[in-house]
Amino acid sequence: MQRLTYWQAISQGLVQSMERDPGIFVAGIGVDDFKGVFGTTRAAFERFGAARVIDIPNCENAFAGIAIGAAAMGKRPVVVHPRNDFMFLALDQIINLAAKWKYMYQAARGVPVVFRGIVGRGWGQGATHSQSLHALFAHFPGLYVAAPACPADAKGLLCAALRGDVPVVLLEHRALYDLEGDVPEEPTPVPFGQARVIREGTDVTVVGASLMAYEATRAADLLAEHGVRAEVIDPRSLRPLDEGTILRSLKKTGRLVVADTSWARYGFAGEIAAIAAEGGHAWLRAPVRRVTPPDCPAPVSRPLEEAFHPTSMTIARACLEVLGAEAPWGDAVTDVQARFSGPY
């Protein structure tokens, strides 16, 4: 297997998918520029040119509709948003139309648009460039929603999205873009609705999506040094959601920590906790813990950012708490963002 970064994996998955299917095109603000959406669309542009990698005006709402209209005629548009926060402007088309298309018209086929949105974090991006909209999208039936946490999934989920007939929202995390991992050479789809057990363990189940799967894994490593065996689950796709894997783990560990990049209230962490309260009640031996940002907009200043974003440390502490233990270490683990030298 090849080693690729997360962005390289997306780039490769895109190029390979476009080779397979001439109906795929990529569109978004600046997809064809020298930055190529943090590298992810650059190779596709070099390979397929402006006919299939298309710079567009600033029109998030209409363009979601335009993509739907192209998909209705047999195309497979990939629409890229450099920050998923801009997708608020496109929600009407995505949720009120794309998600409902197949059902509302009882159509033979859905409108398979793939909406890529990138989640930002840190470096002073602030309140409108640091949100994670995965729970919002995943609340509504009709979409698939995934948040890959490693290079292989970033590629595999994109490849899967580009084969089905379901509109898909893929939320990539900017802080993972330089993460390296093993990635299959082939454009092998990773099916929606199958969680990934990243670490096996028996003491506590940690569920985290997107960057929080990565942070949870680092938390598990930390905990392992202190004899605590955490099982780390990355749901990968939030809709459909693989409840089974989570519940099976809970049966084993009896304890649950959920970490999320978005707020606790009415979010991803709440849903996973709810699943435990519904289907895992018999096994739950301790209160569930949610590890999420505090209930405020994302601030800019560094000390506030550090207080805002959950990390492996906060996750590990929460695990110890549900185990009734004390945290034996200091701030030992460094942030995945530490290397990042802006502007973004």
């Binding site: 095109f25 006919a51 567009i56 005006p57 029109c59 709402n61 209409a62 363009f63 979601a64 509709g65 335009i66 993509a67 739907i68 209209g69 192209a70 998909a71 209705a72 005629m73 047999g74 195309k75 009407d92 088309q93 009120n96 139309l97 298309w101 197949k102 059902y103 509302m104 018209y105 009882q106 159509a107 033979a108 859905g110 039936p141 009709g142 698939y144 379901v166």
Partner: protein, 330 residues
């Protein structure tokens, strides 16, 4: 704009007869449905097109079967004019399995892709963008197909209208934008919604899109304008825009007359009823012996028969079963 020069060439009588017949059919279907509405068996908010048939019929007559159209909440006439199934429509309103959306979509979500009626939607302006996207797909594939978006004077106030026009103009996509300006958005007149003294189609011109105003109650004028506009789009020159002046007779949503509710006068409604697009073309045809009064009468009877059968079929068609509720989500 040369793309949209008004021409006065006469149409072949067969074609004129066909336009008339289609308008009669749509009127007849809607009036029957409006009458039956009080039975409370059609439980779906319905926006009748009565009075506006000429736009749907005139534009769709200029299209080929594989051209596609999109509509909004007031979509019955567009659906039927493009060749949508009348029983499929009626059964949809009755919430039956025989409906075009098997009773899942209702009056505002009519679609029949095999005749090019791709989608209608109850969110104002939404499908304008979608039509642009379909047209863009045709341009990408270099196929000589055209997409049409039908929408009202209220929808042009939505941001998506502008984003869509800008994109269509930049990419020169073969989309025909048809605004049915019936002077109202629900109960709000144009004067509280758009600046005075500037016609809606001027907004399209600000993107360099050829645009003109048409008498939307003159189906021949609509047809001629649409034919030119469609040819312009199909030729690859880019989008075109028609603003069609017309009028909704009944209440915004529902089957009733509402000139007693304060937002418009009976005199205004009467004046527009007097300008009925069907009466107008019928008189034109009778005067020129394009059809006879007997023919007119028999067309009406045929349509009534067809609608009655569609209603009967709808009432026979089974209701969906609650157990099937999840069918078709994915």
């Amino acid at each position: 704009m040369t793309a949209l020069r008004a021409e006065r060439a006469e149409l072949p009588p067969e074609q004129v007869r066909d336009l008339l017949r289609q308008m009669i059919r749509i009127r007849c279907a809607e009036e029957t449905l409006a009458d039956l509405y009080a039975e409370q068996e059609m439980r779906t908010p319905t926006h009748f097109s009565i009075g506006q048939e000429a736009v749907a019929v005139g534009v769709c007559a200029a299209l080929r079967r594989d051209d596609v159209i999109y509509s909004g909440h007031r979509c019955h006439a567009h659906f039927l004019a493009k060749g949508g199934s009348l029983p499929g429509l009626v059964s949809e309103l009755y919430g039956r399995e025989g409906g075009v959306a098997r009773g899942r979509g209702g009056s505002v979500h009519l679609a029949q892709p095999d005749v090019g009626m791709i989608a209608s939607s109850a969110i104002l302006g939404q499908t304008i963008a979608v039509a642009v996207g379909s047209a863009w797909a045709f341009a990408m594939d270099r196929v000589p197909r055209v997409a049409v978006a039908f929408f009202g004077d209220g929808a042009v106030e939505e941001g998506v209208f502008h984003e869509s026009l800008n994109f269509a103009a930049v990419r020169k996509v073969p989309v025909l934008l048809v605004c049915e300006n019936n002077l109202y958005s629900t109960h709000s007149p144009l004067s509280v919604r758009q600046p005075a003294g500037i016609a809606i189609h001027e907004r399209a011109r600000a993107y360099g899109i050829p645009a003109r105003h048409v008498d939307g109650n003159d189906v021949l004028a609509v047809y001629r304008a649409a034919e030119q506009a469609v040819a312009y789009c199909r030729g690859g020159a880019g989008p075109c825009f028609l603003e069609c002046a017309t009028y909704r007779w009944r209440e915004h949503v529902g089957p009733l007359w509402d000139y007693d509710r304060g937002y418009r006068s009976k005199a205004e409604v009467d004046a527009w009823v007097a300008r009925c697009p069907i009466k107008r073309l019928a008189e034109h045809c009778l005067a020129r012996a394009i059809c006879t009064a007997d023919e007119l009468e028999s067309w009406r009877r045929e349509c009534q028969q067809e609608v009655a059968e569609a209603v009967a079929a709808a009432k026979r068609s089974p209701f969906p079963s609650g157990a099937d509720i999840l069918q078709g989500v994915y």
